[in-house]
Symmetry: C2
Subunit: 198 residues, 2 copies
């Protein structure tokens, strides 16, 4: 990913928070040059490790653990019209947030371990008071149909491109533009990035 220096995020805590908050990831592999892609949740667990699972019918469920695995975590994004700026002579752009990880996967093939990881993953996605996987309700029937893996990032590149290179009155005007066009979450993320992240 091409990252102009204004937009590169180096703060590890901020990056991990982003990955935790945007678990619906894109897994890319390139076996013998053949690109394969899946969309699936990859969750940051309490121990700081990343786990996901795939349908066993997914061809990526039998990639080699030595194959490079590239994972994207994606967040808010929006088209930014020059009409929103305070200053003159701006060009259209697209603001976005993405964390790209190069790494490997390590499969977890013990059904007991997979069940334990699945329970924890659901607890993360559901939050403290949410629904839970339980014994005796047929929930375990999923286990033979999926393959769990740990994703081991080796290199992480983060870009939050939210007009950090613009004048402060333009940044405020763009945030107003996003709010006014119904993109409240993106506006809040952009305000956060420009307030406190680097």
């Amino acid at each position: 990913m091409f990252i102009p220096e204004h937009f590169r995020i180096a703060n590890r805590e901020e990056i991990e928070k982003f990955m935790f908050n945007h678990p619906f990831a894109t897994l890319i592999t390139a076996r013998k040059g053949e690109i394969e892609v899946s969309h699936l949740p990859i969750c940051r667990f309490n121990d700081g490790k990343y786990y996901g699972h795939m349908a066993r019918l997914n061809t990526q469920a039998d990639i080699a653990e030595t194959d490079p695995a590239y994972v994207i975590f994606s967040g808010p994004h929006a088209y930014i019209t020059p009409a929103w700026y305070a200053s003159e002579v701006n060009l259209p752009t697209w603001n976005f947030s993405a964390v790209h990880c190069r790494g490997k996967v390590a499969f977890i093939d013990s059904p007991e371990n997979a069940w334990s990881l699945l329970k924890e993953m659901v607890a993360i996605l559901e939050g403290q008071t949410g629904w839970r996987l339980t014994e005796g309700h047929g929930h375990r029937r999923l286990i033979p149909h999926i393959r769990f893996f740990e994703f081991l990032p080796e290199r992480i590149d983060a870009q939050f491109k939210f007009s950090q290179n613009k004048r402060s009155d333009d940044i405020a005007a763009i945030i107003d533009g996003l709010k006014g066009s119904g993109q409240k979450n993106t506006a809040e993320f952009m305000a956060h990035v420009n307030r406190s992240v680097s």
Copy 2:
């Protein structure tokens, strides 16, 4: 992309509408097995062709026109909790929409053609009454810094995974759950998919 048959979309018009409505794409290449990824708008033009551009500083701006280029168009997605269903014994899932295209890029290196394409691209993104690129305002200064390309899809796979394999009362309950959790756009897309798309 693994696509269970319930979720595969074959309707070409529906797929093209989705690509038009979700232009912020992911471009993936794998030169010598090295995966590279960019996030950038790729727009469907009036002539039915797809165009995008990259910063010349982006390493993907000099891929070979013979290299496979894989482009993802992404739409609404949401975690679906079993707590929302009408029926018993459901498992968590993530609903999502994605169109994956395998193809090639063809670069457009004439500055006049790039300027013309950029003007049309901005008109598409801005809509009929929006901001326009014009002569004499310094807008052309962008041209030497970007490289335009046509994206030529050779194979398109579309997945709208929105619980089409579930009971109709469960589908209605999930749509209500999405609305109730502030995910109105996703709820509307899911309703559309279950009403009219195949």
